[in-house]
């Protein structure tokens, strides 16, 4: 099945070191990729994966170490040099001009011209179509970027690299933005590419994807090279332990559900986005005590607006929200928090969740600073505030255990723990968790999921909104799929079919 030609080493990175100031992002990393091989890079957030491939693509200069391409030692001074050497890269954020066609984007910067500088679009289009055909990319060269899906845009990026003669393709977290179906399509494309003798370096932290597509896997932990393994010879569990440096449990430990009465009901909700378009458009949903209701969906289907409406940050244009039968539509954020005791883990930690310049203690009281004992007759009671923060850092394992550190100086996982401590410690009736594990590594994800399950097990209601289907399926009791501002289907999480949900997420009917 694999197409590896072990006689040809395409990429060799030998003892590559990359420092930013005194910080060592890559510490003597070794990486060998053969012709026709799919090689995955695995590591927690901030492990140094992107830094390593940036060194290969000429975006960074390695501080030390050597790089060989097809056996030749090379200096890759910039991306142009990388392209000359047959290295192509698809970044996590696409670099496409929305209003241009596929072909215009692909030839941007290296336009083929006829005599007298006239663009030879026709020839370029023909070549684009050929490449698309050959690797099964299903791209129409004349489509405008703004009219095609995210998955297609990604394939345009791949096509761009191939057009420029890439032999080695680097994909930095390509699956993060894709629906399950699109991921399967990408897997097929990767197979086609390797059959044709291309080599792939793919970054992902989803272990089952590695098992599915990769031949070899190199694990990096905190900038250090841990090992390169043959993927077929290891389990996902082993990969995870190597990545984190300790045993981790994937399965979210849940007791049998004790589903209680209905607590929150959303009826025909309409919420407009900033452009005045109804992003939430007639949404119906009920939430019960003792359950985690997961909302699955692709980014941009009204999730953010729904959460903002529930938390009082955005005006409701129609419909109603009721808590235990009491109408709470149009409540101010303060009422939602302090009166209705609905708490939120916001999707953007740094924007909505934390005041980055405040210290941990100040962040912990962001919603309760006006209550005794933290405030007495308009005066802050610092002793009480910092004693409380000490307590929270212990209970919620916020590290370092120092309430005087600014939120800015904490890692993403610990920033999230501060938010969880704040939102959960007041025993909320309803906890809304919006993308609670975005950008977190395996260990921190485990922590967040446990916190959500604890709420549920204590008979509270949890609304989980996530773009990660795996997360929704693992954590929830029920799954609602959101598409274009509506709930298009609700299923029980037990025995759910991933493909069925994936189809609904893309707007299809099961």
């Amino acid at each position: 099945m694999t197409a590896i030609d072990f006689s040809q080493k395409i990429v060799e990175m030998i003892d590559v070191v990359k420092k930013f100031g005194d910080f060592v992002a890559n510490d003597r990393i070794n990486l060998t990729v053969h012709k026709g091989e799919v090689h995955s890079l695995l590591g927690e957030n901030g492990a140094g994966k992107t830094t390593l491939v940036n060194c290969l693509y000429g975006l960074y200069r390695p501080t030390q170490g050597r790089i060989r391409i097809k056996g030749q030692e090379v200096e890759i001074s910039d991306p142009n040099a990388a392209i000359q050497l047959g290295i192509g890269m698809v970044h996590q954020h696409f670099m496409l001009v929305d209003t241009f066609t596929v072909t215009q984007n692909i030839i941007l910067g290296r336009e083929t011209t006829k005599m007298m500088g006239v663009l030879d679009i026709a020839r370029a289009e023909k070549k684009v179509a050929e490449i698309s055909e050959r690797y099964g990319l299903a791209i129409n060269p004349r489509d405008k970027i703004q009219d095609i899906s995210v998955g297609s845009q990604q394939r345009v990026e791949i096509l761009k690299a191939l057009y420029r003669g890439a032999e080695i393709l680097i994909l930095d977290e390509p699956t993060a933005v894709l629906t399950p179906q699109e991921i399967q399509e990408l897997v097929m494309i990767i197979r086609n590419l390797t059959q044709e003798g291309k080599s792939i370096i793919i970054i992902t932290h989803k272990l089952h994807e590695i098992k599915q597509v990769a031949d070899y896997c190199t694990i990096i932990r905190r900038g250090k090279f841990i090992d390169t393994v043959e993927v077929d010879k290891v389990t996902e569990q082993e990969l995870a332990s190597m990545m984190v440096g300790r045993e981790v449990s994937f399965a979210v430990e849940k007791k049998a559900q004790q589903k209680g009465e209905q607590i929150l009901a959303i009826q025909d909700l309409v919420v407009k986005d900033n452009r005045g378009i109804a992003a939430v458009n007639g949404l119906n949903l009920t939430l019960h005590k003792g359950e985690i209701l997961g909302i699955a969906g692709v980014d941009g289907n009204g999730q953010s607006e729904l959460v903002e409406a529930l938390t009082g940050l955005r005006k409701v244009a129609g419909g109603s929200i009721t808590l235990r039968g009491k109408e709470i539509t149009g409540s101010k954020p303060k009422e939602v928090i302090n009166r209705w005791n609905i708490r939120t883990i916001p999707e953007d930690r740094q924007k909505r969740g934390l005041v980055m310049e405040f210290d941990v203690a100040e962040n912990l009281i962001l919603e309760t600073y006006h209550d005794t004992p933290f405030s007495v007759r308009g005066m802050l009671n610092r002793d009480k505030i910092y004693a409380y923060a000490d307590h929270c850092t212990q209970v919620y394992d916020i590290r370092p255990t120092n309430p005087y550190l600014t939120a800015k100086s904490l890692s993403g996982g610990n920033q999230q723990k501060v938010i969880i401590a704040r939102e959960v410690s007041n025993d909320p009736e309803v906890l809304i968790a919006s993308q609670p594990t975005r950008g977190l590594d395996v260990g921190a994800i485990e922590y967040v999921h446990t916190a959500l399950v604890n709420q549920r097990d204590r008979g509270k209601a949890v609304l989980l909104i996530s773009f990660e289907l795996d997360e929704v399926m693992n954590v929830s009791d029920r799954i609602a799929v959101i598409f274009e501002g509506k709930i298009v289907g609700i299923v029980d999480a037990i025995g759910v079919d991933e493909n069925e949900i994936g189809l609904m997420m893309a707007g299809g009917t099961p």
Binding site: P333, V355, M356, L366, E367, L380
Partner: protein
């Protein structure tokens, strides 16, 4: 050894104090270059300035008098900035405060302490409304406070020039208001100074007498008290917590249940009140009246500089205000002594601010240099 040096360097560079000091030195250096280019000996010029500040107790007294309104307008700008608002309007609020203080000082007849309290109180209230108006316009209509305060500045200036033409307020054609009652003045020992004993004392005591010759007043004491108050409100009260949260991150503050719009209005009310207090103390302690102005006097604008140099804190504003006052007063001396342009002082101050206000720029330059040194 080298490692220790590195650590020290980083601490110094990352702290705002170090940055401020470097900026001050750079300001002096650039001032020196300009003097040199203009054909003056910079060392001599700086010596003149230094002497002009410290060589007589009278000079020091003048520096403090110069610094007093700057400290307070600095506090005004700093307070708003801590809530994320750029109060360009301290100038107009200062003017409104000065008008109100001059009016209350002239029209009312009350015992000393009561009269001063009333004049300052009314000045603060009117200026607070003037500042709060900009906050309200922002909260209600989304008009940026820089735009609205610039307009309010002009309105205040023309209003001030209008009221001094009123018959009841000032004698016709002088372009000045009547002087305030003696009970509204905050000058120290003003009656005693002109008594026989006072005149005798001034003549026989060189140092103290020198000070008493200046319009020394209680304004500086109030300025320091206000600096402490600002520090206290921002750091110790629930209100200060709200305002700082809004200033650092309005999105998180809003999500946490803080009323961001209300906070903006409150912050501008307090900021305006502070600027008004600056105008009031200037009238009650130094000018004793208001006069027709050809242009804005710039106390409010200088307050922006003071706030930035003082890192937008209460205590910082006191030191920055004193530095600013000293440079303004001492700098004026190079004109007489050397026929050198006083503009050099403004350029120096400008340079200091440029560097203080752009710490990112400095850090950028340093990292570029570091990178170059490594390659």
């Amino acid at each position: 050894m080298k490692l220790n040096g590195e650590v020290l360097k980083r601490k110094f560079l990352n702290g705002s104090l170090g940055l401020t000091l470097i900026s001050i030195v750079l300001g002096f250096l650039l001032g020196a270059i300009i003097l040199l280019v203009a054909g003056f000996n910079p060392l001599e010029a700086y010596w003149v300035i230094l002497k002009g500040i410290f060589s007589r107790s009278k000079y020091i007294s003048y520096v403090i008098i110069y610094a007093t309104p700057l400290i307070i307008t600095g506090l005004s700008v700093a307070f708003a900035l801590r809530t994320g608002l750029f109060n360009i309007g301290a100038e107009g609020q200062y003017i409104m405060g000065a008008i109100m203080a001059a009016a209350a000082g002239y029209f009312f007849k009350l015992p000393l302490i009561l009269h001063v309290t009333l004049a300052v109180g009314l000045a603060v209230i009117v200026a607070a409304i003037w500042g709060g108006l900009a906050g309200y316009i922002k909260a209600r209509f989304g008009v940026h406070e820089v735009i609205s305060t610039i307009m309010l500045n002009w309105i205040a200036l023309y209003f001030s020039n209008f009221v001094v033409t009123l018959k009841v307020f000032g004698s016709q054609g002088t372009g000045k208001s009547y002087a305030i009652q003696s009970t509204a003045r905050i000058n120290l020992l003003s009656d005693w100074k002109i008594s026989e004993a006072g005149i005798e004392f001034i003549r026989s005591h060189k140092v103290l007498g020198d000070i008493l010759k200046t319009p020394i007043n209680a304004g500086i004491i109030f300025a320091i008290l206000l600096a402490v108050l600002v520090w206290y409100i921002l750091n110790k009260t629930t209100l200060g917590y709200e305002l700082r949260a809004v200033g650092f991150n309005p999105h998180a503050a809003e999500a946490g249940g803080i009323n961001v719009k209300k906070s903006m209005v409150i912050s501008m009310l307090i900021s305006g009140g502070l600027a008004g207090a600056a105008g009031a103390f200037q009238v009650l302690g130094v000018s004793h009246r208001i006069a027709k102005l050809a242009a804005m006097e710039g106390y409010g604008f200088d307050g922006i500089a003071v706030s930035l140099i003082g890192n937008n804190t209460g205590p910082g504003s006191v030191f920055a205000g004193l530095l600013f006052g000293a440079l303004k007063y001492g700098g004026s001396k190079i004109q007489d002594a050397m026929q050198a342009p006083t503009e050099v002082i403004n350029i120096m101050i400008g340079t200091i601010i440029l560097f203080v206000a752009m710490p990112k720029l400095i850090r950028l330059i340093l990292t570029i240099l570091e990178r170059r040194a490594k390659n």
